[in-house]
Amino acid sequence: MRLGTHFVGTVRLGIKSLLLHKLRSALTMLGIIFGVCSVIAMLAIGEGASYEAQEAIKKLGSNNIIVRSVKPPEEANSSGSSRGFVLEYGLTYDDGARLQRTIPGVRAVLPMRIIRENVRFDQNELPCQVIGTLPSYVEIVGVDILRGRFITSVDEMYQNNVCALTAGLASRLFPFQDPLTMSVKVAGVYYQVVGIVQERNMVEQRSQTGQIDGEPLDNNVYIPMSTSRSRFGETIFRRTAGSFSAERVELHQVTVQMQDTDAVETADPQIKTLLRRFHPKNDYETIVPLELLRQAEATKRIFNIVLGSIAAISLLVGGIGIMNIMLATVTERTREIGVRRALGAKKKDIITQFLVETVVLSVGGGLIGVVIGVAVPFIVSALAEMITIVTVWSVFLAFGISGAIGIMFGIYPARSAANLDPIEALRHE
């Protein structure tokens, strides 16, 4: 009780002394304000960025390994200039079968042919990706069926001319009609629309096969694999900027779904070993979302350490600022210290008095810093369209550190005040 009122009195006295030099106290607090603010804001931005990355990777499926055809580097340049030359590269139908057979722990292998074409309905003609794939695409890659159905094994068996459209493409192609009763035309062939779907994944992840900047991402036309093979053949001609090129690619992508995440780690090197034997040209790449996730987590850790260090340094600088001012204050108030000692103050009373002042400075700065630090991520979110996540622990961490800094850097000035000889202090001018 008694101690309580005494403490309140000491805090009030500390605030009063600080208010005596408002500008000085405010400037001293700035160091802590910036420190705390930067801890919280930087951690929030870092947390948000890594959350976005992790979500993106998770959508690729942490049980999946994605194998993708890539143009071999040494032939990529020559292909455009040599007219009539057919560039042959990439994964083959055999690769898909081989992966299924050889790699232990494989649950499913999903082949894909991705061909860039234009899709037409009536007067509308839009660029699209014609994805020839199997019905298991729905589970392995992950799509939501909004209306109708996806392609089925029956479609695959009979090479049916049917297609599913992504929602965005469907709405652009059919502004007024119901797409499910219509057919669209791709490369001179009509396909009946059987379903509207939406990809759960980030489409960019496999759009390297010719994504044009600024084009809407959900422009997929899904057709049965067998249909794709018979309608388009294996050689794909492409006209780009007046020149003409032809490529022969059997499969553009194979998604290997493993039984569990443990199997992913063992399968990744096995897949590489297997493919190396049949692809000396290095015309493929593998993407392991699980590994990307791990990398993202490791990156986040490093990021946090770097940000944390920067913030810690700024807090440290703030602490030194506080200590500097308090040392000056002690010198300035030497006489007051002597008077208080003569009037019965013990050393610990003097220590408390000055320590309370530094803690008021640092905790006050900490509070303001928390408010700004929480506000900044919101502003960043609004302006930069970034996700930011202010974690509760970062607020407590920053606030706790600021308090600790006040005590740490306050101890020395407070002790040097208390250890002044009362008579010397009284005689001080």
Binding site: H6, K16, R340, R341, L343, K348, L426
Partner: protein, 241 residues
């Protein structure tokens, strides 16, 4: 102060062979006090005089437990305070001794009210519980209408009167004053001295350092110091309460 006089006349302070030596360097040793023996009875009024550098302030600081003697014994109310640890000395200062300084030594950021209450805080008292007492003290020194003023808004005499009120707030038995009128003109100085006389009449022991014979004349005993020793003592009036 209407405290009942408790002047039984017994020696409450007993100094024996008090020495204070400052060792500045191996060759430079200052012997500020060189064996002082002194007894002071409770309720008496003692003035200390002597040339500059004779050790008056040093002695008063030791009497006030602000400083410890290098040698000798100091009995204060039956306790040897010469070897007391720092915290206990603080306690003795806070509870039993009131200080009045030449340069007032009020705390600039505090009001008159708060300045008077500073000694209370260090006794763990809640100042709010002593509001009436503080106001009474302020009225006694004639500053009842200045409670919210800061020291910078007061004259020297007024500041010294605040210091007197402050020295009384914990009801000490002894008031020590080092040249309390040194910074004041003779008229305000006389007012301050009148207050000290009154305090002595109400039973406080008063020890005062001065250079002024007229000031010393108010005391019962005048102790003349020279070169760190008591040179002679003059008794103005016998102590007969």
């Amino acid at each position: 102060m209407q405290a009942t006089p408790k002047t039984n006349g017994a020696p409450v302070i007993h100094l024996e062979g008090i020495e204070k030596t400052y060792v500045l360097s191996a060759e430079n040793i200052v012997r500020a006090l060189r064996g002082v023996d002194l007894k002071i009875n409770e309720g008496s009024y003692v003035a200390i005089m002597g040339p500059s550098g004779s050790g008056k302030s040093t002695m008063l600081n030791i009497l006030g437990c602000l400083d410890r003697p290098t040698a000798g014994s100091y009995q204060l109310g039956g306790h040897n305070v010469a070897r007391m640890p720092d915290d206990e000395l603080s306690e003795v200062r806070g509870k039993r001794i009131g200080f009045i300084f030449q340069s007032y030594n009020l705390i600039a950021q505090l009001t008159v009210m708060e300045n008077i209450q500073v000694p209370l805080i260090y006794q763990g008292e809640d100042p709010r519980a002593h509001h009436d007492h503080t106001v009474q003290l302020a009225k006694m020194v004639g500053l009842g209408d200045r409670l919210d003023h800061r020291p910078s808004q007061l004259s020297g005499g007024q500041q010294q009167r605040v210091a007197i009120a402050r020295s009384l707030v914990n009801d000490p038995f002894m008031i020590l004053a080092d040249e309390p009128t040194g910074n004041l003109d003779s008229k305000t100085g006389a007012e301050v001295l009148e207050m000290l006389d009154q305090l002595n009449r109400s039973g406080k022991t008063i020890v005062l350092v001065t250079h002024d014979d007229k000031v010393a004349a108010r005391a019962q005993r005048v102790i003349h110091m020279k070169d760190g020793k008591i040179d002679r003592e003059v008794v103005n009036r016998p102590h007969n309460n």
